[in-house]
Symmetry: C2
Subunit: 482 residues, 2 copies
């Protein structure tokens, strides 16, 4: 493990994080609020210390990155930016403790959207801008991670995407990351711009349009309003946001293909079909279930049903309705949506559609081989055989996901949190969603969770966001052996 090299990579990242604070600073200056000084101080700290780490650890040998170094860089980077991202909140005394500031920051960078702010609307706008902006940056990180880095590290079946990455450079990690990142970021920025324009067109202020775009595209879910999207109470905004949440939940390689003129890209991708099909199916069930029981018209049931299903399954976490008041069936469906998650290669979290889909196919294959014990069968996707080792990674990932969910919710309950809240807060954190049920329902926030619980949940968010293996591997003794 070349620590010097790792420090170098993390240093430059912190440096650029500091540079990016220019945007909330401009926002703070424009609104002349109390966020200016804390942001300037944080910026100086990040640029200074990041630059110092970078220059003091420069080294020549950096063309090849080993598996182990790759994982260490990913995890350490996310923790570091979580710490630095918390600085403005902490220095600006937005929260009573560093724990809260760190929780909010990690919740931002992991694009979770779980908040500890009780009254969002009184927070100075510079901080709110930063809070939304870190989600957007987090989303950029995720795109590179899932499309360009994880496939090469072979984490959780992501090697499946090795061949699919649209890249002009052959199989070398570093140049490939750079080129792929650039291409997908262009797509990300382009779609974000479209959303800002459409929100402005509907009459949302520039500040709110930007902040909500910054939290839709990374499927983040922070809002500048206490009641989230329900605040605007507009069919137009609901529709626009549903549309962009869905886009954000689809593999960004497909958007790239679509922009390149491959008009059937979505349809030809089996994961995308599965994802959109699931969304449609669950929306219909939820709408039918809430119609009559909760909403008086089918239109209303469909509007709120579609919004919540899309918001939860894409792991965004916006709310237009307090789904805890819905009938039990709709609640359970939303709860399971937390586990399903969006597509791989999107900014969404959860287990990911591709894994769920392959797991289904795998179960069917097992049934088939019980009926025909001598037949040799394979799991296929889009006509291609899924290699055994990929299938194993996927099943291992799902088992690890469930195992961590179990252990973490037991620990959270041990901190004095009730049963339903423990379950759903952990599910929401690992899946990077935001709201849960009980104390952390869509109309509540995470302020009442004990401090130790907040650290646990921040850890869960990191685990989920970095596809578990990347983080958990650092606590396996074998990893540190020479």
């Amino acid at each position: 493990m070349r620590w010097r090299f790792i420090a170098n990579m993390v240093g430059i990242l912190i440096f650029f994080l500091g540079i990016s604070m220019i945007f909330p600073l401009i926002c703070g200056l424009y609104f002349r609020d109390s966020s200016v000084m804390p942001i300037m101080t944080s910026m100086a700290a990040a640029v200074g210390s990041g630059g110092l780490i970078y220059f003091s650890s420069r080294c020549k040998d950096s063309t090849q990155i080993s598996h182990r170094e790759g994982m260490a860089i990913v995890t350490i980077s996310w923790i570091s930016i979580g710490l630095y991202g918390a600085l403005p909140f902490y220095l600006g005394e937005v929260f009573p403790s560093f724990t809260d500031a760190f929780f909010e920051s990690v919740s931002g960078f992991t694009t979770t959207g779980a908040s500890v702010i009780i009254n969002i609307e009184i927070v100075p706008k510079g901080f709110l801008f930063w809070r939304s902006f870190i989600q957007w940056l987090g989303g950029m990180g995720i795109i590179v991670l899932s499309v360009a880095i994880l496939p090469f590290l072979g984490v959780g079946g992501m090697q499946l995407y090795k061949a699919e990455v649209p890249s002009p450079v052959p199989d070398k990690l570093k140049p490939r990351v750079r080129e792929t990142a650039k291409m997908l970021w262009k797509v990300y920025v382009l779609i974000s711009l479209m959303e800002v324009v459409l929100l402005l067109f509907g009459g949302m202020s520039l500040f709110d349009s930007l902040c909500h775009t910054f939290t839709t595209m990374p499927t983040g879910g922070f809002s500048t309003k206490n009641t989230s999207i329900a605040h605007f109470d507009s069919v137009y905004f609901d529709t626009v946001i549903i549309f962009f949440m869905l886009l954000a939940g689809i593999n960004f390689s497909l958007h790239f293909q679509l922009l390149k003129g491959k008009s059937l890209a979505f349809w030809q991708d089996s994961e995308c079909r599965f994802f959109l099909g699931t969304v449609l199916f669950l929306t219909l069930i939820v709408s039918m279930n809430t119609y009559g029981n909760f909403y008086k018209t089918l239109g209303e049931a469909f509007r709120y049903g579609a919004f919540q299903v899309v918001s939860i399954i894409t792991t965004t976490g916006y709310a237009t309705a307090d789904y805890e008041k819905w009938p039990a069936m709709s609640q359970i469906i939303l709860l399971f949506c937390m586990f399903i998650g969006a597509s791989a290669g999107s900014t969404g979290g959860g287990m990911k559609c591709i894994r769920i889909m392959l797991c289904f196919k795998y179960c069917y294959k097992e049934l088939f081989s019980l009926i025909h014990p001598r037949a040799v069968t394979h799991v296929k996707i889009s006509g291609k055989v899924v290699p055994e080792d990929v299938m194993r990674s996927i099943l291992g990932f799902l088992a690890l996901y469930m195992g961590l969910f179990v252990v973490s919710s037991v620990i959270l309950a041990g901190m004095g949190v009730d049963l339903l809240t423990s379950f759903t807060a952990v599910a929401s954190a690992i899946g990077n969603i935001g709201p849960g049920f009980g104390m952390v329902g869509p109309a509540e926030n995470y302020a009442a969770i004990p401090a130790s619980g907040k650290w646990l949940l921040a850890w869960c968010m990191l685990l989920g966001r970095l596809e578990i293996y990347t983080v958990i591997i650092l606590i396996v003794p074998e990893f540190w052996r020479k």
Copy 2:
């Protein structure tokens, strides 16, 4: 598929089920209660129709059973005995509907122990005896199923036990089943006798001793008292029952080995170590968690904690405490115990310790292979490599288990049952436990579940009891193709 042959097997089973009704009949006659006539009628119906089916479908060619026939026989048998077992309750008007009678009967034969009787103590003793006795018979069925039949059908990784079955006859299914069954039944009867003696010794009536033994050994959990084992409020009975629930949760092959003089049998078996270790670990956590929060002395906390952990993890379902009033952490632990379950080859249900254990090892192996991408690694148990296909069956089983849990709880919630009840009733049914949380908590029963929900739960019980694959395969179209 030789339907004639299948009918023949099922016919003889129904015939013997009818014969076995002699025991509750004797009980009814002794207590001179109103159960005599209904039981006699049911007995005549079972013996008559079973005999008729058997004799009318006799065929010569019955030495070899195919995989598909094996699975059809298992599932159809369990459904048939469920139907015939319900007759005494239905004819005796113990329940207002056949749905309830069938639910209670399936809950008995699958050794679940979920009851729809509101006031157990006013039910005529003949019926109560039958209710407990069918659990004991169900337990006998499970032993044969899991130790002698499923390993040969290759269901859910049970092929792992192919070599371990103590049998004097080589690899032919039919004689092997017979011999193995005989040996293990002797063990089952012997341990049951020990329990009856110990309960009598503590001052329990013969009737209650028999009924509770009949429901401890198959990890069933029906009681003759409204408040279950809490009724007796005795440290002695609690201890005896904990001991026998643990024995019932251990692979019966190990009991056989122990009786043959292999004194370290339990210790040498890694699943048994895992099972007992888990029980001890969770008991300690629950005791520490309830001590001070709920119980005043550590002794009390340990007594009730141990009882509930053992009762739930072995999937028995007896209660000495209303665990819904315990702190959240203990509740969540019990909830997860419902999924873990007991050992394979025992009468317990759930996912089974061996599968959980191998799943852990598998995850670790995956982490290891990420650190050393070129190393070839295998999952081992007791020093032996677990074949890839067995590992695949196990992971497929776990995925199918979770998938069915998800789908079934959504459907149950759709029938108007609340969130927590839907979740835990389904988990309890698939795991063959008995009580859950909410409407079906340890101090409640299943009477208030809508009729459609009772059918769904009965189906879940069958699924769980017959290791899912055996039942679900019958609804795969491929199964019926020539």
